[in-house]
């Protein structure tokens, strides 16, 4: 099976302090990391290749530094890493981003399955996966939490929703977004890390993949961010409650009562 795992490099979230005034999280000196949800997409691609053979390509659209995340994907065992990098992509919203990725997937040729993480932790939109499916005209399955059936041209998957799940049968080629329940991402080995450092990450431009310039970047984006602002401060100073169990309980339940929460 020829599989593309779409990955994104996002700001890390390791260091933060809480601003005592606004109670907002202040991120400090955060390094870029591989979007946590994408690890599950990568792992599933590996597992499928182990089960039915084939090729796994890690694909990312981003600035040059996104190459480090593609090398991380390579160290997990993907066969190739492809970076879509071009000034023309800058400022893309999810419509333009999914267009670019879909065009690259068509350019790669013969792809049977596209796997994405549920969402990226910076944008949080969860729109790109279904967007890629729509641009390609392929069926989709989102929030995939299990893949019990793998046959040559068809996958049976469990799709999660708020109440439970559906069992879906999807013909390939298809696009799927995956959630944490699906697998346990493997830890890269020393050998695969060393190999990943030596591997070539292919860089493709908009021209390479034959993308229509009108569908890229700021101009190709139906939505535009017109303003950003910090969120309003929480405002309240922390009230400390101490004492024995009964005292604390009484005090907090009183507060909840006053606020009509109980």
């Amino acid at each position: 099976m020829k599989i593309v795992a779409c990955i994104k490099q996002v700001p890390g979230t390791n260091d933060c302090t809480i601003d005592p005034e606004t109670k907002r999280l202040k991120r400090e000196g955060v390094e870029a990391v591989l979007n946590p949800f994408d690890l599950y997409a990568l792992e599933q691609a590996m597992l499928l290749r182990e089960a039915v053979g084939g090729e796994v390509i890690a694909l990312s659209m981003g600035p040059p530094q996104a190459e480090t995340s593609l090398r991380e994907a390579l160290s997990c065992g993907t066969d190739r890493g492809v970076l879509l990098c071009d000034r023309a992509f800058a400022g893309s919203d999810t419509w333009a981003t999914s267009y670019a990725l879909a065009t690259a997937i068509r350019h790669l040729g013969g792809v049977e399955l596209v796997l994405c993480g549920k969402q990226a932790v910076d944008g949080d939109t969860a729109q790109v996966g279904p967007g890629i499916a729509a641009h390609l005209g392929w069926p989709q399955a989102t929030y995939v939490s299990a893949m019990p059936g793998v046959e040559g041209k068809r996958l049976t998957v469990r799709r999660m929703n708020e109440d439970g799940h559906d069992v879906l049968e999807v013909d390939l080629p298809a696009v799927m977004t995956v959630v944490k329940d699906l697998n346990t991402p493997r830890v890269p080995t020393l050998r695969s890390c060393l190999a990943a450092r030596k591997a070539t990450v292919t860089v493709l431009t908009a021209a390479d993949i034959g993308a229509d310039a009108r569908c890229l970047g700021l101009d190709g984006s139906p939505t535009r961010v017109v303003k950003t602002s910090p969120p309003p401060p929480r405002g309240t100073k922390t009230v400390h409650i101490a004492g024995d169990g009964r005292t604390c309980a009484r005090q907090i339940v009183h507060e909840l009562r006053m606020k009509s929460l109980v």
Partner: protein
């Protein structure tokens, strides 16, 4: 031919981090330190994803870097943040290499690291700690390993002693402490377990880095002489062995022999 020093130290070797931008240089340095430790007759103790930072495994480092193994001179840390498959892989590889000394710890996790579940190791207990890990090792790989455990004198003593009891019952063969500065009262109680004690000595001048370990703030400029501390510990606890954390290979390693004099 390895040296036979006056005293054998357990020298901690931090495993190289996976995300390092200068991985090849880190690996070379690791190999150099490892060989130095072995040639001097000491024990190389390789960490397992310390502080939850994704690093490389001791067994794969020895394998890929072609490092020599002398069974009495190599110890591998092993924590509970592995898949069962990876855990068995490490243990099997260790046996194949002739490594028989492990330090079993609960360890620190991170979002990137998997975790052993009770189901993995055939236990009714849900969460897996060092105790369950030791039991698993001795059950699945009987008579293959000497397994040590950690002891933290900075946790409430009753709690730590009770944990220690369970670890010993599970088969712990020795105990390595957290860093001790000059002395600690609980070390006497540890002796009641009747197993060898390895005392950790902090070899970095930066004592303030231990703040999280000991549970209180240490000012950054606190004067601290690691070698003097080591000498004090050796004098006070002559029957114990010593585990050297953050040993400076350029400045301190050459002085180790003198420390014993």
């Amino acid at each position: 031919m390895a040296n036979e020093p006056d005293r054998v130290f357990h020298v901690e070797l931090l495993s190289p981090k996976q995300k390092s931008p200068k991985l090849e240089a880190d690996l070379d340095l690791f190999a150099e330190k490892y060989r130095k430790v072995l040639d001097a007759g000491h024990v190389a103790c390789i960490t397992d994803n310390p502080m939850g930072i994704l690093s490389f495994q001791g067994t794969e480092l020895i394998d890929v870097l072609g490092l020599p193994v002398r069974p009495e001179q190599v110890s591998i840390h092993l924590n509970t943040f592995h898949t069962k498959k990876d855990l068995d892989g490490i243990l099997t590889q260790a046996i194949a290499m002739g490594i028989d000394n492990l330090l079993a710890i609960s360890g620190d996790g991170s979002p990137r690291l998997p975790k052993l579940t009770g189901k993995d190791i055939g236990n009714a207990v849900e969460s897996v700690t060092a105790v369950e890990l030791i039991r698993y090792i001795h059950r699945e790989y009987p008579d293959q390993f000497t397994v040590g455990v950690a002891f933290n004198p900075y946790e409430p003593p009753a709690h730590e002693m009770e944990k220690m009891r369970r670890k010993v019952d599970a088969g712990a063969a020795y105990v390595t402490t957290q860093p001790i500065i000059e002395s600690h009262e609980t070390l006497e109680q540890l002796e009641t377990f009747g197993i060898p004690i390895v005392i950790e000595c902090w070899m970095s001048r930066k004592l303030h880095l231990l703040a999280e370990c000991v549970g209180y703030e240490i000012p950054e400029d606190t004067p601290y002489d690691p070698m003097a501390n080591l000498r004090t510990l050796m004098a006070r606890y002559p029957h114990c062995e010593f585990y050297l954390a953050l040993l400076g290979f350029k400045t301190q390693f050459p002085l180790l022999e003198q420390a014993c004099a």
